[in-house]
């Protein structure tokens, strides 16, 4: 039988292995069916166990009633003994299957939860930088962290509701067989009881939603206060924002109280209705007994059934609720899972030659092999765009489409908004496909990057952009994520990036632990660790975008010198306007309006090219006149 955590091969697999079949994303309903199939029969077994777990509740009242009639009233100790033994056995069977059911439910729940998380991770691995272009990262994450839980809840409620349908029918058969009048009352009254509470549920849910919204706003405010705490303690404003928080806290409390009072109404009604139902049942029963149509034992067992039947009916409403929520979650999951990479490798991809010149057709830029080329541009985003093209990255120029349903939209308007979102997603995918069709426009030697395998491109050209991120883990893993460097190589990278102070500041040196995203390091330290990592990767072609923007002049000068030395003989491209880098460049290229305006040696250009001087010297001398 399947167990957790499930193995998942969907979307992504290690090189050389085949990826498993993807989930069914044609509709939320099909997706949920796929999720159930993913459980491999566990839900069906769970349903069967559920029936056995409820055996004491199904058969218990009947056995008890029989024992009263035959044993107590009939004064037959052996009948009492048999009844007691049967009841005991039923209890034991129920307890045993209760544990089996609990184990199975935990399994199905976790298979859904872990399975969904694993699929999201693999989707991110498969799509790379394209995924955040299409969906907001927050939603990608919430599919893994909260929608996955809804799928787990769905498997549980299906097993439970399934078993209760069976036991409901069994109880129905027993009561109808014992007394048609009483049986019909029990079977009809139970749904009515739960049904009366329904009109009160809608206002409750509305209030609970208001409470949730206010609470989440309150959490945002607290997070906001912490995020800006340096300013609040440095400059001031504690009173204002403390008061704003308190005001919101009170309004959250009001919403909570209002929801709680409705909850109290429903609880009270529950007490009232089920109490009245029991009295009614017993009153009817006593008249049946007096009329001789019912024994006293049967009456007692009806009391038991009356109490029991409220459970299954509640479960059916819960079932409806949870399935609806699972459908909403399925829609969100589909939005992530259905997205496919815009590119696929040619059947026989060409091999890249790392020793060739890297050039870009749009700007006319060429990086000479084995040299340090510095790209200068008055607009930093222009050189960033060039770096994207040189590395075959799609630029971050899309508005990711949210799948979060808008508040207050219902029925047709909601469906329209939904298909609008689907259309916008398809539009982005189509645009990506358009961009990746045909030649890419940048080439290494004579090979257009689109004609090589993407993995080959990534291995050959490493672009370290300004968004480069550090990951939680040891400093050693931050510099050497692939675990293939020698210590000497790692040290060299660290020294070249002038990041020795980070090592020094870490308790435990290489084994010192970085927080997530390198939080806890200063901006300059983070940047230098990122640079050290890029250098340590030892890519044949390295493209660095603004690698030292957060670093002081002293350090920047050292880094530029060391990087030039380390990368000697291998193609290196640096996008920056800092003279400290230009000084070490073999070749300098000035970019304006996505075109190479001029190129040459820094010294020559500074002396002879007014356009170049205007851009580079602005940082130096623009201030002199100011």
């Amino acid at each position: 039988m399947r167990d957790f955590p499930p193995s998942v091969t969907t979307f992504w697999s290690p090189e050389g292995e085949r990826a498993g079949s993807p989930p069914d994303t044609r509709s939320p309903f099909r997706f949920l069916l796929w999720m159930l199939r993913f459980q491999g029969g566990l839900v069906a077994v769970g349903t069967a166990f559920g029936v056995l777990w409820q055996l004491p509740l199904i058969a218990g009242p009947w056995v008890f009633g029989r024992s009263i009639d035959a044993g107590i009233v009939g004064d037959d100790p052996s009948a009492v003994a048999v009844g007691a033994v049967v009841l005991l056995l039923l209890t034991l069977v129920g307890a045993a299957f209760g544990i089996a059911l609990h184990t199975l439910v935990v399994r199905t729940w976790l298979i859904s939860l872990y399975g969904t998380t694993k699929m999201v991770t693999r989707k991110a691995a498969q799509m790379g930088h394209v995924l955040p272009r299409r969906s907001p990262t927050g939603e990608i994450l919430s599919v893994a962290s909260s929608d996955s839980d809804e799928f787990g809840a769905m498997t549980e409620i299906i097993a439970r509701a399934g078993s209760q349908v069976v036991s409901f029918l069994a109880v129905a058969a027993i009561v109808m067989w014992t007394s048609p009048v009483m049986g019909a009352t029990v079977l009809l009254a139970a749904p009515v009881l739960v049904g009366v509470a329904l009109p009160f549920l809608r206002p409750l849910h509305r209030r609970q939603e208001l409470e949730r919204n206010r609470n989440s706003e309150l959490t945002s405010m607290a997070t906001d206060i912490v995020a800006g705490l340096r300013i609040l303690r440095g400059i001031g404003g504690e009173r204002t924002f403390g008061r704003n928080y308190a005001t919101q806290s009170r309004s959250a409390r009001e919403a909570g109280v209002s929801a709680g009072i409705w909850q109290a109404v429903i609880e009270a009604l529950g007490v009232l209705f089920s109490g009245v139902f029991l009295v009614l049942l017993l009153w009817l029963g006593t008249h049946e007994v007096l009329a001789g149509r019912l024994t006293i034992g049967e009456l007692v067992s009806f009391l038991g059934y009356g109490l029991y039947l409220i459970g299954p009916i509640r479960t059916f409403f819960e079932f409806a609720q949870k399935i609806t929520r699972a459908m909403v979650s399925a829609r969100k999951a589909i939005a992530i899972f259905e997205s496919a990479p815009p590119w696929s490798d040619r059947e026989e991809p060409l091999r890249l030659d790392p020793s060739a010149a890297l050039s870009d057709g749009l700007t006319g830029f060429t990086a000479r092999p084995g040299q340090l080329t510095v790209v200068v541009s008055a607009a930093p985003e222009e050189s960033a765009r060039l770096a994207d093209r040189l590395g075959r990255y799609l630029p971050a120029d899309t508005e990711p489409v949210s799948e979060e349903p808008e508040h207050g939209l219902k029925g047709r308007a909601a469906r329209r908004a939904q298909s609008e979102r689907a259309r916008r997603r398809a539009e982005i995918a189509a645009r990506d496909a358009e961009r990746t069709r045909g030649p890419w426009g940048a080439s290494l030697g004579t090979v257009d990057l689109a004609d090589a395998a993407l993995a080959d491109v990534r291995r050959t050209v490493l672009v370290s952009d300004t968004g480069s991120q550090l990951f939680a883990g040891t400093l050693q893993d931050a510099i050497d994520p692939h675990r293939r460097l020698t210590r000497a190589q790692a040290e060299e990278a660290l020294r070249t990036a002038n990041a020795e102070d980070v090592y020094d500041a870490m308790p435990g040196g290489w084994q010192g632990v970085l927080d997530e995203r390198g939080r806890g390091l200063s901006g300059g330290q983070r940047q230098r660790v990122v640079l050290a990592r890029a250098l340590a990767a030892d890519a044949p072609v390295l493209v660095l975008v603004e690698p030292t923007s957060a670093v002081d002049a002293h350090t920047e000068a050292r880094i530029a010198e060391r990087v030039a030395e380390l990368r000697r003989g291998r193609t290196t491209i640096v996008c920056t306007v800092s003279p400290l880098w230009l000084h070490h460049a073999d070749h300098v290229v000035l970019l304006a309006d996505d075109e190479v305006v001029t190129e040459g040696r820094h010294h020559d250009l500074l002396g002879g090219d007014p356009a170049y001087r205007a851009v580079v010297a602005r940082t130096i001398e623009g201030e002199l006149q100011a």
């Binding site: 693999r122 009232l272 008249h287 007096l290 590395g391 210590r487 090592y503 901006g523 002081d552």
Partner: protein, 641 residues
């Protein structure tokens, strides 16, 4: 002075990963083939290993290596006692109403029993009036339930609101020095996840536990009143579960805390993978990230198996212990009936009581469980309050704006001074640029000169008074540290600007906005100064956000500004357009500019070059550039050539 190689210990700390422990202890995998006895033994060992892990995680969560402190159990108890103590009347009403509601509920089975007895007697006399009596009791029970629940809600929500407001007040009082240096990640986790966990236990846990205890004890009384003969065996059977319940309650919270921490690991890893998708792709890390995600899940699955086993052990006992009383009631009922000690009605009532008891008992176990998990979160929240204040303001008031630093030394780690006796005299109205390599101590110098930290030795004074002896409200209007951190708070534009002087009139706010050149766009906002900005509200451009940050300082109006460039990444696209706003702020103030761009330094009246915690050069740009072998001159040449 000897310069030691910072990488001197590299050989000792580098790992070849051969000694890395496996993600999941291999002993935690069940054997493939084994006899039943071996299987049970192996399961017991696994369970034991998982318990050790849970104990470890719990211990670590109570004594974190890094981050803010965690309070002890005593502080948590005192906190709750105090919260409840301040609502004594409400608490008494809560108890009374719930006792009445539970009591009414316990009368019903008794009356139903009587109804059965009357039926057995066979004359049917008074049946209808008895039925009506039950209906009346049920109605009373419903009304009491409503009021009892309503009181619990009011009580729980009130408790919760004061608890969370207290925590935020504490956060807003944290010492400035610590806030400047500590990572905020830990605090964010505490105000989100821990407040969430605490909320559940304060809002529902506390009242529910009280109600369950009441109901259980009253039920016991009712059972005994109905029939001692039927009640005692049942209660004894239920009592047998006490041992298992205690064991569960002792262990489960640690299990759940461990489970929670594995889920936050899963989320952290995935968040990094998704947000750093491009980095992952560029460096070919997909395989590693997928494996790391799978490893996190393996670890989490072990934590889940532990709590699953704990629950299974508990359920085994309580399922039997809560259900066998029915059998006992039947057996003893038959015996007592035969002896003539009992009526059928009493047996019926006893069965109903036994059925009614298991609900609150179950709930009680669940609530106690959750309360303990909530208590650990509360301990983490109260830990924030244990950070001692870093300054005691005195009554001394500065007699002028002269800012002076004498023999300044400072160490973040004991024995590791980053400043080695710096003397600095600020001339009123001058611009002093501080340049130097990173790690040279220039940012630290800035923090001492703005009164964020107290120097280890020496003094930093304004108008003759130690900066750290001034009340914060006053300090902020004397000197401000500007870190270019342009956080926009959730709140109105006005709220975002008046920080330093919170009672500023609108004219002052407008004037500040006008000074930095943003009055135009603010007035075009839908509600002007009342427009809500910040995360999730009206979105500002980066340049607008920076203008807001500058307007705050205009309102603060300190005579001295310490600008620290190095602590933030200035967006080069907005830097240029903000020059005007920046100049408006700097006009007429003394400025210490900690610069990493040389052009900033060039404009200054004087430049201090800080290397290894000392000022090695001090003078105007021209003086320094002219020194042949000077540090600054060398840099300037590299910059301009």
């Amino acid at each position: 002075m000897t310069i030691t190689d910072p990488l001197a210990t590299s050989a000792d700390t580098w790992s070849d990963h051969s000694a890395d422990p496996p993600v999941v202890d291999p002993r935690l995998r069940p054997p493939d083939e084994a006899s039943v006895g071996e299987r049970v033994a192996s399961w017991r060992m696994r369970h034991h290993l998982r318990r050790e892990e849970a104990d470890r995680v719990y211990a670590a969560s109570r004594n974190p290596e890094r981050g803010w402190p965690v309070a002890g159990d005593r502080a948590v108890l005192d906190f709750f006692r105090d919260l409840i103590g301040r609502r004594r009347r409400m608490f008494v009403v809560l108890i009374a109403l719930n006792a009445l509601a539970a009591g009414a509920g316990l009368v019903v089975p008794r009356l139903l029993g009587t109804l059965v007895d009357r039926t057995v007697q066979g004359d049917g006399a008074g049946l209808d009036s008895l039925a009506w009596l039950v209906v009346a009791v049920v109605a009373a029970q419903a009304v009491l339930t409503f009021f009892a629940q309503r009181t619990s809600t009011l009580f729980g929500q009130d408790l919760l609101a004061s608890a969370r407001e207290y925590i935020v007040r504490v956060i807003l009082r944290l010492p400035v020095g610590q806030v400047e240096s500590a990572s905020t990640g830990d605090l964010v986790t505490r105000v989100t996840r821990d407040v969430g966990t605490m909320s559940r236990s304060v809002q529902f846990g506390v009242p529910m536990a009280i109600i369950s205890i009441l109901t259980v004890s009253l039920s016991v009384v009712a059972m005994l009143a109905n029939s001692v003969l039927l009640a005692v065996p049942s209660l004894m059977i239920i009592a047998t579960s006490a041992y298992a319940v205690r064991g569960y309650l002792r262990r489960a919270p640690r299990g759940y805390i461990t489970e929670g921490s594995t889920y936050s690991r899963i989320n952290t890893t995935l968040t990094e993978t998704v947000e750093g998708a491009r980095t992952v792709e560029a460096l070919g890390l997909s395989g590693r990230r997928v494996r790391q995600g799978d490893d996190d899940i393996e670890v989490s699955a072990q934590a889940e198996r532990y709590t699953m086993s704990l629950r299974n052990l508990l359920f085994t006992v309580i399922d039997v212990a809560f259900n066998t009383p029915r059998v006992a009631t039947l057996a003893f009922g038959a015996w007592g009936y035969a002896q003539g000690w009992l009526t059928l009605g009493q047996i019926t009532s006893a069965v109903l009581y036994v059925e009614a008891l298991s609900g609150p008992l179950d709930r009680l176990v669940g609530e106690l469980d959750r309360l303990q998990v909530g208590a650990t979160s509360t301990a983490r929240l109260l830990g924030i309050a244990e950070v001692p204040p870093d300054r005691e303001p005195t009554d001394a008031r500065p007699d002028g704006p002269a800012l002076v630093g004498r023999d300044l030394r400072f160490a973040y780690r004991e024995g590791h001074d980053v400043l080695h006796g710096i003397d600095v005299d600020l001339r009123t109205g001058e611009r002093l640029a501080v340049v130097g390599p990173s790690g040279s101590g220039k940012s630290t110098l800035g923090r001492l000169l703005s009164g964020i930290n107290r120097p280890r030795t020496g003094s930093a004074t304004v108008g003759g008074v130690e900066l750290v002896d001034l009340p914060l409200e006053l300090l902020r209007t004397e000197v401000a540290l500007v870190t270019q951190e342009h956080h926009v708070f959730i709140g109105s534009v006005r709220d975002n600007i008046v920080l330093a002087r919170e009672d500023s009139p609108d004219e002052a706010v407008r004037a500040a906005l006008a000074a930095v050149g943003s009055l135009d766009w603010v007035e075009r906002l839908p509600q002007g100064l009342d427009t809500r900005i910040g995360s999730g509200q009206h979105v500002l451009t980066p340049a607008q956000a920076q203008q807001i940050a500058l307007a705050r300082l205009i309102i603060a109006d300190p005579h001295t500004l310490v600008l620290d460039e190095a602590t933030s990444l200035i967006d080069p696209r907005t830097a240029r357009s903000l020059e005007g706003s920046m100049n408006a702020l700097l006009e007429g103030r003394t400025v210490v500019a900690i610069a990493h761009r040389l052009h900033t330094a060039h404009d200054a009246d004087r430049i201090a070059v800080v290397i290894d915690g000392r000022i090695v050069e001090l003078g105007s740009h021209h003086e320094l550039v002219d020194r042949e072998d000077g540090e600054y001159a060398a840099l300037w040449r590299a910059w301009t050539s």
